[in-house]
């Protein structure tokens, strides 16, 4: 067991163009400090978050993935953030099956006004991942060849469809 205190996790964050990316901007404008472990990717909507991105992030060496979107009811695209919510729930289950702690995937709602909240959430997640230690994923090698990813994605999408029918 390595000493987690000196471990600097790498976290990939997916942000929505309308709320959480702007929250990150606001955190900057307000000079709110948070640890430099998170690297953000801007999407138009959290609904764009493809489960493959998350698996690819883990395969590529990320220790955690943060997915952020507008609060329920405030989605720029009506309600696509709810789809992100469902996908995240399924994704947590899927990664667990692959031996990844589901805590490594975190969904956070942050409006464009919640720079401080987002910064707190990032800080909190960095600490949580630090405590978990580096991602130790035996399948990483296999996945690097990209062979499993489409299969996984299909599984997640199909079950999402089922959820929607059930809902």
């Amino acid at each position: 067991m390595m000493n987690n205190e000196n471990f600097e996790p790498v976290i990939i964050g997916f942000t929505c163009n309308w709320c959480s990316y702007r929250a990150a901007d606001l955190a900057g404008t307000a000079r709110v400090k948070y640890p430099p472990n998170v690297r953000l990717i801007r999407l138009m909507c959290s609904g764009r978050m493809d489960p493959t991105f998350v698996l690819q992030a883990f395969a590529g060496g990320a220790d955690g993935v943060l997915i952020t979107g507008c609060h329920p009811g405030e989605c720029h695209y009506l309600e696509q953030n709810l789809k992100a919510l469902r996908r995240t729930m399924l994704l947590k289950r899927t990664v667990a099956q692959f031996g990844i702690e589901p805590e490594r995937v975190r969904l956070v709602w942050a409006s464009a006004a919640e720079g401080v909240h987002l910064a707190h959430m990032i800080t909190d997640m960095v600490e949580e991942i630090r405590a978990l230690g580096p991602l130790n994923w035996p399948q990483v090698a296999a996945l690097n060849g990209n062979s499993h990813v489409p299969v996984l994605k299909k599984a997640a999408t199909v079950s999402e469809e089922k959820v929607e029918v059930a809902a």
């Binding site: 990316y21 900057g28 000079r31 640890p35 953000l40 138009m44 764009r48 720029h76 910064a119 999408t157």
Partner: protein, 668 residues
């Protein structure tokens, strides 16, 4: 392998904003070296990239170094993406081949350790470089704009919007659910703060809309279906059967007079007065034709009566009339659907519905209206007794987490108006009970001062209850308002004869369905959401759909009219452009890959995806698509790609961020 693209990387110091925390020189020399194998041919840092000198630097490199891609590491793309795209376009590079990555808001301003911040900035630039390689030159799309406009809702907001557009010479379809336009304003007697008569200022506008050559008035009608997209909506409207042939009706109103069926009018008279089964809501109704309310009509119930038909000399009554379906083609839509009044019976402690002399604000409007059920006499529910003391309660159903968390904006001023009218017309003692007095607008606080000077009592305290449980002889047979007078921290019980509840404005009960039909969204409280709360208050996230008036949130008449005019101005701007350029952030289906599973079809909030039964593939209407990318993420066959946010772009950025693109493996 030789890189295919020639990439320029530009790092901004932003004065010391970035350079103070990030080693910018190190960044530029690193980018030039470590990313050379990815195609970076030039990497520079400069004090202010967004300055004209900075932009010139990029332009010069595009021309001289034949750059095919540009990455700028500076502030947030929300600030200067447009600036750098334009700089690239001016230098002859397709603007969408430029990527702006944020090392200010997301790096220098939020981190303190220079080494760590510089390392993160490298990852961010690396991600940008990888992403930009997969960018494609894009052209903005354009759609033609049908010059006709649909306005939904014939209150003052809709009337104003329709008027502005029609006066500019473009056609407007004005759809109204009730038999007459006029909305809530037509119910009022006086309007604050100037106390001009609502009918005097509203009816001329109603008349000119009713006879406007560029307005098609569709009253007693509701929108049933909306298809299409900005510039080219097709709308289905149901015009309910009025059982009166408008072509021959003269509006003489003899039918109303002769109709034997009296019904409580819960809409226009707010339940305080009656109408007939065949009726116009009020004498100045536009259009002037009556409608038969089939639910209450004796003929429709029993097959007998026909009093209206017998007395109609014009022969306008037509019991066989059926609902009419009207198809409209319009380029833009303005929703001005207004508000519902809070059902004050829900706040049981104020006794509305149980205690006869508790009135709602709308009931009181009708009570004071010279054309109302009492001809403007302020009397108790018995119809004759004048009150000696009147209590007016603010914030009923507003600023209350149990009902509506928001301030209804108009109630303070409306209550002051009521206080003035009661005082003026009855001389009664008037008590206003408020939490905070909100009179923030032109001439509003002056009106408060005026009402104060008229001797109205103001008690700061939200009323605990209105009760008929009396404790003293003075309270017998009266209504007692119990409150804490927070000015002195004492409980007070104030006996009055009449209580007026300034009830909250609420979203229309069916606002969710309306929003869904038009492809827009409602806030948590149920109001339509504007594109930007301050800078774009009448547009919505859906191109071509605009909102005005109380449908967007509670507001007074001046603000409502302003929004109606503003929405019209936005629509007119669109019409004048004749066609509209759209951001090319869209999803498209690669037909060869589509398996026809239809998973994407139901995911689209804008109904942009349809299924082509012949080809058995899904098709995306580019004008309807707003580019959220949900379908892209959901497609199990990877058949949908999102321009500017394609899988390749995101995956590449991911690899770059994780430094998987380094020639020498770097442990992130």
């Amino acid at each position: 392998m030789m890189p295919q693209e020639r990439i320029g990387v530009y790092i901004c110091h932003c004065g010391s904003n970035i350079a103070g925390t990030v080693d910018v020189e190190e960044l530029s020399s690193w980018a030039g070296e470590a990313l050379r194998h990815r195609g970076v041919v030039v990497a520079r840092d400069y004090k202010f990239m967004c300055s004209s000198l900075g932009q010139d630097l990029i332009a010069k490199d595009i021309k001289e170094d034949k750059l095919t891609r540009v990455v700028v590491a500076a502030c947030s793309p929300h600030l200067h993406e447009a600036t750098f795209r334009k700089a690239c376009a001016d230098a002859g590079l397709n603007p969408y081949l430029c990527e702006l990555v944020s090392i200010r808001e997301q790096v220098s301003w939020v981190h303190t350790d220079k080494v760590a911040a510089t390392a993160k900035a490298k990852a961010v630039i690396s991600g940008g470089v990888e992403r930009v390689i997969h960018h494609e030159p894009l052209e903005p799309m354009s759609v033609p704009i049908n010059p006709a406009t649909l306005v939904v809702g014939g209150g003052i907001a809709g009337i104003q919007a329709a008027m502005e557009i029609a006066d500019s010479g473009f056609h407007v379809y004005l759809v109204e659910r009730e038999p007459s336009i006029g909305g809530h304003m037509a119910q009022f007697d006086k309007t604050f703060p100037t106390l001009d008569c609502a009918a005097c200022i509203l009816t001329p506008k109603m008349v000119s809309i009713g006879s406007h050559p560029h307005v098609t008035l569709l009253t007693y009608s509701e929108v049933e279906q909306v298809d299409g997209y900005v510039g080219n909506f097709s709308v289905r409207v149901r015009k309910k059967a009025s059982y009166v042939n408008h072509d021959v009706c003269t509006g003489c109103s003899i039918c109303e007079e002769k109709c034997p069926k009296k019904v409580v009018d819960s809409v226009f008279e707010a339940g305080l007065g009656y109408r007939k089964a065949i009726y116009r809501p009020f004498p100045q109704a536009v259009p002037k034709y009556p409608v038969i309310d089939a639910e209450n009509c004796i003929y429709f119930d029993t097959g007998k009566c026909k009093a209206c038909e017998i007395h109609c000399e014009a022969g306008a009554i037509d019991f066989e009339q059926e609902d009419q379906i009207i198809e409209l083609n319009v380029g833009n839509i303005i929703l001005a659907t207004g508000y519902d009044l809070f059902d004050a019976r829900r706040e049981t402690q104020y006794g509305y519905g149980r205690l006869a002399n508790v009135f709602t604000s709308l009931e009181f409007e009708r009570l004071t209206n010279a054309a109302g059920p009492t001809n403007g006499e302020i009397v108790l529910r018995d119809g004759e007794t004048k009150p000696k003391a009147v209590g007016i309660i603010h914030c009923v159903g507003s600023r209350d987490r149990k009902f509506n968390n928001y301030c209804s904006v108009i109630c303070c001023m409306q209550s002051l108006k009521f206080a003035h009218l009661v005082k003026e017309r009855t001389g009664a003692e008037v008590y206003n009970f408020y939490i905070d007095m909100r009179t923030a607008y032109k001439e509003y606080d002056e009106f408060y001062q005026r009402v104060l000077s008229e001797g109205v009592h103001f008690i700061r305290g939200r009323v605990a209850e209105v009760t008929d449980v009396s404790n003293t002889p003075e309270e017998e047979e009266r209504l007692v308002i119990q409150t804490e007078d927070t000015r002195m921290g004492k409980q007070r019980r104030i006996p009055v004869d009449m209580v007026i509840l300034s009830a909250a404005l609420e979203p229309r009960h069916d606002s969710d369905e309306i929003a869904h039909m038009f492809g827009i969204s409602c806030s948590v409280n149920g109001w339509f959401i504007e594109k930007h709360p301050k800078l774009d208050p009448v547009a919505t996230m859906t191109e071509g759909i605009f909102i005005a008036g109380c449908a967007q949130g509670p507001k007074d008449i001046p603000s409502t009219v302003t929004q109606g005019a503003a929405a019209a101005a936005r629509v007119l701007g669109r019409i004048q452009q004749k066609e509209l350029a759209l951001e090319p952030i869209r999803a498209e289906v690669t037909e060869a890959l589509c398996s026809g599973c239809r998973i994407c079809n139901n995911l689209c909030p804008y109904h942009a995806i349809t299924f082509d039964e012949a080809k058995e593939v899904s098709v995306i209407n580019a004008a309807l698509c707003q580019g959220c990318g949900t379908c892209v993420a959901a497609c199990p066959s990877n058949a949908i790609s999102g321009t500017q946010f394609s899988n390749e772009q995101v995956m590449a950025q991911l690899e770059g961020l994780l430094m998987l693109n380094m020639a020498e493996p770097v442990l992130a």
